[in-house]
């Protein structure tokens, strides 16, 4: 019985460590999704010439879709994104893993989205993609490092518990 409890505690600690590690990797994944959505958004806006709200709704990324539906209700792009981001960065929501830098990069994109010519929108997209790409590689790197760290820490805690109980 005692041994079974010790094994369970060790596995539990390892899983907690693993779950924290997953949280770190979610940021990179969310930024990757945002980049894919931005590419699609660029095509819908600048090649298919869809109005901004329709282009956002076709981007396949929930946060952009939400901003698109707010925009269709008469909001400007910047304020629609502000409202969408406020909803989606709450604890447990889709973007709660993003940092202030990540959110700033996306807010800068939405600040300029829609209200300039096609050539200016191209520049806006390439600059936003460059910035989000930089943040994503930073997040992927630190996610991998922290992921290993937290998994190992979890395992070590589990082993310490096991030793203490035995």
């Amino acid at each position: 019985m005692r041994i079974a409890l010790v094994v369970l505690a060790a596995i539990g600690s390892a899983l907690i460590g693993r779950s924290i590690a997953q949280g770190c990797l979610r940021r990179a994944a969310a930024l990757r999704q945002a980049m894919d959505a931005m590419q699609l958004l660029r095509i819908q806006m600048l090649e298919r010439l869809l109005p901004l709200h329709a282009a956002l709704e076709k981007s396949g990324f929930e946060p952009f879709k939400l901003a698109g539906s707010l925009l269709a209700g008469g909001e400007g792009a910047a304020s629609a994104w502000k409202k969408a981001a406020a909803q989606l960065t709450k604890r447990g929501a889709m973007l709660d893993c993003l940092t202030a830098d990540d959110l700033n990069a996306l807010a800068q994109l939405f600040d300029g989205l829609g209200m300039t010519s096609r050539a200016e929108q191209e520049v806006l997209f390439s600059s936003a993609l460059r910035e989000v790409g930089r943040l994503e590689s930073e997040a992927a790197k630190s996610g991998a490092e922290k992921g290993k760290l937290y998994t190992t820490l979890g395992l070590l805690c589990g082993l310490m518990l096991a030793i203490a109980f035995v």
């Binding site: 806006m45 600048l46 010439l49 869809l50 109005p51 901004l52 709200h53 329709a54 282009a55 925009l71 008469g74 400007g76 792009a77 829609g114 209200m115 300039t116 010519s117 096609r118 200016e120 929108q121």
Partner: protein, 290 residues
Amino acid sequence: MDAVERLAGYLPDGLAERVRARGGVLTELRLRPASRPQLCFSGGDELLKEPLRPEEFQEIAARMLEHSLYAWEDELRQGFFTLPGGSRVGVSGRCAVEAGRLTAITYLSALCVRVAREVRGAGTALARELTKGGAARSALIVSRPGMGKTTLLRDAARLISDAGYTVALADERGELAACRAGIPTLDVGPRTDVMDMCPKHIAISHMVRSLKPDVVVTDELGGKRDADAVLDARRSGAAVLASAHASSVREAERRPALREMIRCGAFDLVALIDGGLGRLAEIRELGGSA
């Protein structure tokens, strides 16, 4: 929702109320930043008391453009864009010109909204003439600007379509059918296919090739490419119903492209609008075929 109600949706509350109140007789709404909004009617105008703040003007423009200026760039370069419901918005502002061509309008300084009207029955006489004798005939509607050519054209297209003919509508400015996501918001008839926001010479050729229409309908013919497309459509067996700016047939013939179409027999009839909004003064036989 009619054009006036759609227009009111873009405006601040006070102005929207006034537009709704005068909606029945309103022909144009003219807006300028830091100036009093001007409501135009067929017999005069009204300047509202309160000037429009520059930020209100910008907000109205942004909403009319669906916060998507990039999508309307080509239309703005031509000086206008179309609202859902078919109202046309003329714009002016600071222009960027390159090699003698207008490349962009920045700092919008005026919006002139021409309120679209759907007048059912306006095209009855014309549609009757066009469908007399079974096979559809071709006609050119001629009038000065702002006399209701588009209204007449739209209603005639609806009636021809109702009468059993397949109609192809080349709606370059989006005023005839006022499509929203591909669906006409104005009634253009049950047998009508629409190609909108596309240069009319491309739209006419495309539709004749791919949709086999009995009648091609289009607005404001003018250039050589339009003439070539219309004559091609006629040679392919489709009738053409179109409009052009001119105060008489003689004046229309002074424009090279219209003269070529008339002389090559592109039209069987010419309809003149005069003396009132969409009111036909005369329908005259021209004779000949392309």
